[in-house]
């Protein structure tokens, strides 16, 4: 679209629509012609859309630099360049269109070649730059009163972290290494220097979490952000953070795996890695965001728990909600829960591994506090004193204490979201970004059977009430964008013959397919 076309079309666009803009066309002159005062790419005009500014003219000319065509003819191939990009976006093959071009311009082989080249170049450009990641429209019309804005999950995560740090009266430290689809959190946070946000782009994921652990030790609200393969690299340091019992938030924006996998596609397949991906007995609380806007609250809550229980916390998001946007009912900062961080106050009686009897959090003291000098590390340590200890009974005790502490998070966590009656035929049990699809499916579901839905916020620990809930239903169905991960935790813990609805296609679940699956289960009940 050029500026004039844009101007005309803005009102017709759905929020969150995908806009591919040719930046070459957004020059002074065209802007004036279209009566834009400022370049809309750079101001807030397009905030509600997903904007992809691309220098289409330049890129097309470059792609065709060896073609024996006039500039004008070359420029006509622009549309095929743009088409190539959208083909990549929707993973469509190029051959059909190539064939069509060949038919259409049969008599002009140079034009055929140029158009095909442009088509390919557009496709390659999109491929090369990982510019489009899975991000579909998610929009749940909300009627609650209040002020709204559109927000992507990654931006909401960034804001949730800043809000938590501000409420805690702390500076925010992010140690991170770029990786699709998590980089935008780093990008967003790097803008907020005036909010006392320190972003440290580390040499790798290991350094990112390591620096965050250091910052936590020294008293910042500390965070590290990544995606799947990056989480793998953080495994060893996650074990250290667990052992040090330091507050830390680890954000994992999941993508298609395994290995490099499908970096621009979405998946929920890092849950078990988050649960078990480190040596020894090292449970870590896991919270999952359900939608783009919800990333704000999830991030905020992750910080609360990290400090309340002196523990690393893993926040699971994914490419779908990280890049997707939806309207967000903006909270008034005054209504956000207070976060108070307490430090040891008596140097005489200070022991770093003395615990708060209620939360089992250990006693924190940070460098700069005179008289509280102490040393912590990754070797097993004695209860209370924190001195090194190889004592067998102490190791058993510490292992148990650390595990109990994670269970305690249930004292903090609210009951999970529950829709429907407390007992019935089918219970849908879900977590994370499947929320939107399930919501839609349930709305459309017509049945006489009793179907209820429980959507988890904390995946570790599983909520206390869950066992009771599950036992009140004939069948439990667990939809996940993976080969079955939450279902493993649930079957193991409650010994219930839950069934899964699992798709591993790099895409959100199809609500249509899902509906069908529910219906077939209901038939059998």
């Amino acid at each position: 679209m050029n500026p004039a076309a844009l101007k005309v079309n803005i009102p017709k666009l759905l929020p969150n629509a995908i806009l591919i803009l040719n930046t070459d066309a957004f020059k002074e002159k065209n802007l004036q012609l279209a009566k834009f005062e400022q370049n809309p790419i750079n101001d807030d005009t397009l905030k509600d859309f997903q904007v992809f500014p691309v220098a289409i003219t330049t890129l097309t000319r470059e792609a065709l630099k060896d073609a024996a065509l006039s500039v004008k003819e070359k420029d006509r191939c622009k549309n095929f360049f743009a088409l190539g990009m959208t083909y990549w976006m929707f993973t469509r093959p190029l051959d059909v269109t190539s064939e069509w071009i060949k038919q259409k311009f049969k008599s002009k082989p140079e034009i055929i070649e140029a158009n095909i080249t442009a088509l390919n170049a557009g496709y390659n450009y999109a491929f090369s730059t990982e510019i489009f990641t899975t991000s579909f429209k998610i929009s749940e019309a909300s009627k609650k009163k209040g002020t709204y804005r559109n927000i992507t999950g990654n931006d909401a995560t960034a804001l949730g972290l800043i809000a938590a740090a501000k409420k805690a009266g702390k500076e925010l430290f992010l140690g991170s290494y770029p990786i699709t689809p998590a980089s935008e959190i780093l990008h967003a946070l790097s803008k907020y220097r005036n909010y006392d946000v320190k972003t440290f782009q580390a040499e790798d994921e290991i350094a990112g979490i390591g620096a965050a652990i250091g910052a936590s030790f020294a008293g910042d609200v500390a965070v590290t952000t990544t995606s799947g393969p990056g989480l793998s690299l953080k495994s060893e340091f996650m074990g250290l953070a667990f052992m040090l019992e330091l507050p830390l938030v680890i954000v994992n924006v999941q993508r298609g795996g395994p290995s490099t996998g499908l970096p621009t596609k979405t998946e929920q397949s890092d849950l078990l890695q988050a649960m078990y991906g480190r040596n020894g007995e090292a449970p870590i609380p896991i919270i999952a965001a359900k939608s783009p806007a919800d990333c704000f609250r999830a991030a905020y809550e992750a910080v609360e728990v990290a400090f309340k229980y002196t523990t690393p916390v893993i926040l699971l998001s994914d490419g779908y909600i990280g890049n997707g946007a939806e309207p967000w009912l903006i909270p008034n900062p005054e209504n956000l829960p207070e976060i108070d961080i307490t430090y040891a106050d008596n140097a005489e009686t200070f022991y770093p591994y003395e615990r708060n009897p209620k939360t089992l959090a250990r006693t924190l003291a940070i460098p700069g506090m005179a008289g509280f000098e102490h040393r912590i590390g990754g070797l097993e340590k004695e209860d209370i004193t924190g001195n090194l200890s190889q004592d067998p009974e102490n190791h058993q005790l510490m292992t148990e204490l650390r595990a109990k502490k994670v269970e305690k998070v249930n004292d903090f966590a609210k009951e999970p979201e529950f829709h429907g009656e407390d007992e019935g035929d089918l219970l849908l049990l879900s977590w994370g970004s499947t929320y939107g699809v399930i919501y839609t499916a349930l709305k459309e579901l017509k049945t006489e059977k009793k179907v209820s839905w429980c959507h988890l916020r904390w995946v570790n620990p599983l909520p206390k009430c869950l066992g009771g809930k599950i036992s009140n239903f004939k069948k439990v169905l667990i939809p996940e964008v993976n080969a079955g991960q939450l279902i493993k935790l649930v079957r193991e813990k409650y010994l219930v013959d839950a069934v899964g609805f699992n798709r591993v296609k790099g895409q959100p679940l199809s609500s249509h397919e899902f509906m069908e699956d529910i219906e077939s289960h209901l038939k059998g009940l």
């Binding site: 807030d44 905030k47 509600d48 909300s142 609650k144 002020t147 709204y148 804005r149 559109n150 804001l159 800043i162 809000a163 501000k166 409420k167 500076e171 430290f173 140690g175 907020y192 220097r193 005036n194 909010y195 006392d196 320190k198 440290f200 580390a202 040499e203 790798d204 290991i206 350094a207 390591g210 620096a211 965050a212 250091g214 910052a215 936590s216 030790f217 020294a218 008293g219 910042d220 500390a222 060893e236 340091f237 074990g239 250290l240 903006i330 008034n332 900062p333 460098p367 700069g368 005179a370 509280f372 000098e373 102490h374 040393r375 912590i376 590390g377 990754g378 070797l379 001195n387 090194l388």
Partner: protein, 343 residues
Amino acid sequence: MSDMIDKQGKLKLEIKDFASDQDPRWCPGCGDYAVLSQMKKILPNLGTPKENIVFVSGIGCSSRFPYYVDVFGLHGIHGRAPVIASGIKLANPNLKVFVFTGDGDGLSIGGNHFIHLCRRNIDITVVLFNNRIYGLTKGQYSPTSLKGQITKSSPYGTIENAFNPVQMALASGASFVARSIDRNPKHLAKVLDAASRHKGTSFVEIYQNCVIFNDGTFSKYTDSDKKKDNIIEMNPGEPYIFGANNDKVLNWNGFDFDIEDYDTTKEDSYLRHDERHGHASMEFMLASMSQNNNLPTPIGIFRHENDATYDDNLINQINEVKMKKGVGNLKDLLFSGNTWTVE
């Protein structure tokens, strides 16, 4: 705290103030003890209160250092101390942060973090105990082991070239680079003191004897009959004099050093050490000498430069953005962008 401030309001600390409740657990005769005692000696005089000092380490014999000094300490995981230290320093730039590491910890598994720390020039002091062996894990070769060295994991001799840690630090941009030896306590104290006071990444390689798994690897630098011929002390403003009777001197021929008899009458013609000159040619030449059998090995300071630190740059940038955009207010932040209201 109050009793640590003297009548003039100056900080007054003593060695005993840094005594930790843990006994050092190195093998009898280990070179690590020497570093510990010199470190304890210089700490009281740095002008930094105890509570503002943080010792960070990885894993290895040398990495147990933090337990033995009563300051804040973090005993991290293998090779990763530089990144933990970076986070600590950036969280609270008032802290004086040290990294204690070994040739395995700092240069093998931790090599990347080490060079990136040097590149960023974060204000952290890195003390590397080079014993050319993995001590804690019972004697495998390390990236500074000499080619041919027989160890647990190289029963027929290693086939790898050794790193030159000083050259690595120089090439990656550390602003202070030095070397010393466990058996020369005075020199050690002097170099550690200068490194600790330097603003920016300071790196000190210490030749350290592991009596158990690599005893005598530095004997030509420590045995009294050999050391004077094999070691040259670089002192600012002084010519490069060495030899059993201070009878030899290095002469710079424009590309290389020649060894000459020291002749006081030629005093003026000798090249004098200048750790602040900033000539890549000289710095790297001096650094290369430890791997050249025809020349003595230099100890002392190779580079001592003033360069903006990452931590200062960060604070400055934060302040500049605050100046330009105003101190951030949470409400404004959340309500920014295109908002609409449902009533």
